[in-house]
Symmetry: C2
Subunit: 191 residues, 2 copies
DNA sequence: GGTCGTTAATTGACTCGTCAATCAAGAAAC
DNA sequence: GTTTCTTGATTGACGAGTCAATTAACGACC
């Protein structure tokens, strides 16, 4: 059992279990024992690898944001024209990997976590900054000086759609979400 | 001290203290003792009047939504034309009473609460329904069959602006928030 | 290819603090 | 003297974090 390359496997399992457990509970009020149990290990092991419950949450949050970041980067890789690139970012925001029940519920709770934990706030700030920077860069050729305002609007709209989905009982509809945001974009760049 | 009309006063004080305390903590992880302490009463009294911690949260949430609802109703009272009415709703959404640090922080946490408490979910659903109904009614003459889609977008955008404000370090800027949403509206109704 | 010390993995049991909820009893109004 | 208001004290549960002890892989050396 006690293999040598266990650490990365355990860490990954615990991170995954954390996201699932937070989504299941709908809040951060999950015990380390619950997380560890779902990951198939003891709570002591979770503490051994992460040191604290907070650290477990941060790792889970980092994972969610990493997946999201990779999704965006991937989508941008093949897009050339500014308009295509902005659309790619929006599409990536609602990618199957990120816009799923689990991630959305976890994501909402990470916003709450950011209210208290500086490290969580920092992570979220990085995500915002990157998204904003990407959007502004490609919006500039499309809407000129309004790039800042439009990127602000797009960012808020994406977050808002996520938030509402967190409350919805229906399964997330990527198509509808994407269409809603792209419609806004179309209106802003003048059809 | 032990006056007869104490109940409503105590209840109101506890509700107010709850909102402040949730905003201060940035989460729902506040103890009944903290809330009661801020309200100037014992934790036993808080339990006496509300029965449980959950009930205290629900009362606080109801209060926030009531204030918001009153604000919208007030704004609509003087607006006649559809376009004016929609703008009034947006303005009311960012009214000084609702779009303040305290309420925003509490509001975010109530979204989390709604993930677990059916009653909280119900309250939030009522708010969504009312807002949506108001918006659709006045958007119909402006955008026809797109009324549903536009009201969806406006609602999500408002929520998104709230969410981002919850993370911001700067004080809420009602003007900027309103302008952002009204710009979206203007684009949708064709300037 | 077998013995053996070293190191990593893993856990059960425990500690210590915290907190929601209860209750019995005191103080003030009416 | 009854009703309402109010609290200090207590209970009972729960949960984060610690620790000492166990198990199993690994490599080295003969």
């Amino acid at each position: 059992m006690a293999r040598h390359a266990a650490e990365p496997i355990r860490r990954a399992a615990i991170v995954k279990a954390t996201i699932q457990e937070v989504a299941r509970a709908g809040s951060l009020e999950v015990t380390v024992a619950q997380i560890a149990g779902r990951a198939g290990v003891s709570s002591a092991l979770a503490h051994h690898y992460f040191g604290s419950k907070e650290a477990i949450f941060v790792a889970a949050m980092r994972h969610v944001l990493t997946v999201f970041g990779a999704e965006v980067r991937g989508a941008l890789a093949t897009a050339e024209a500014p308009r295509d690139r902005v659309e790619a970012i929006v599409q990536a925001s609602f990618s199957a990997a990120s816009f799923r029940r689990e991630s959305i519920a976890a994501w909402l709770n990470f916003y709450v976590l950011a209210q208290t934990m500086p490290e969580a706030r920092r992570l979220l700030a990085v995500y915002h900054k990157r998204l904003r920077s990407n959007l502004v860069h490609d919006l500039r050729p499309l809407v000129g000086e309004r790039a800042n305002a439009v990127s602000e609007g797009l960012g808020a709209l994406i977050d808002g759609v996520y938030l509402r989905q967190a409350l919805a009982t229906k399964a997330p509809d990527r198509k509808a979400a994407t269409a809603l945001v792209l419609d806004y974009l179309a209106k802003e760049v003048g059809e």
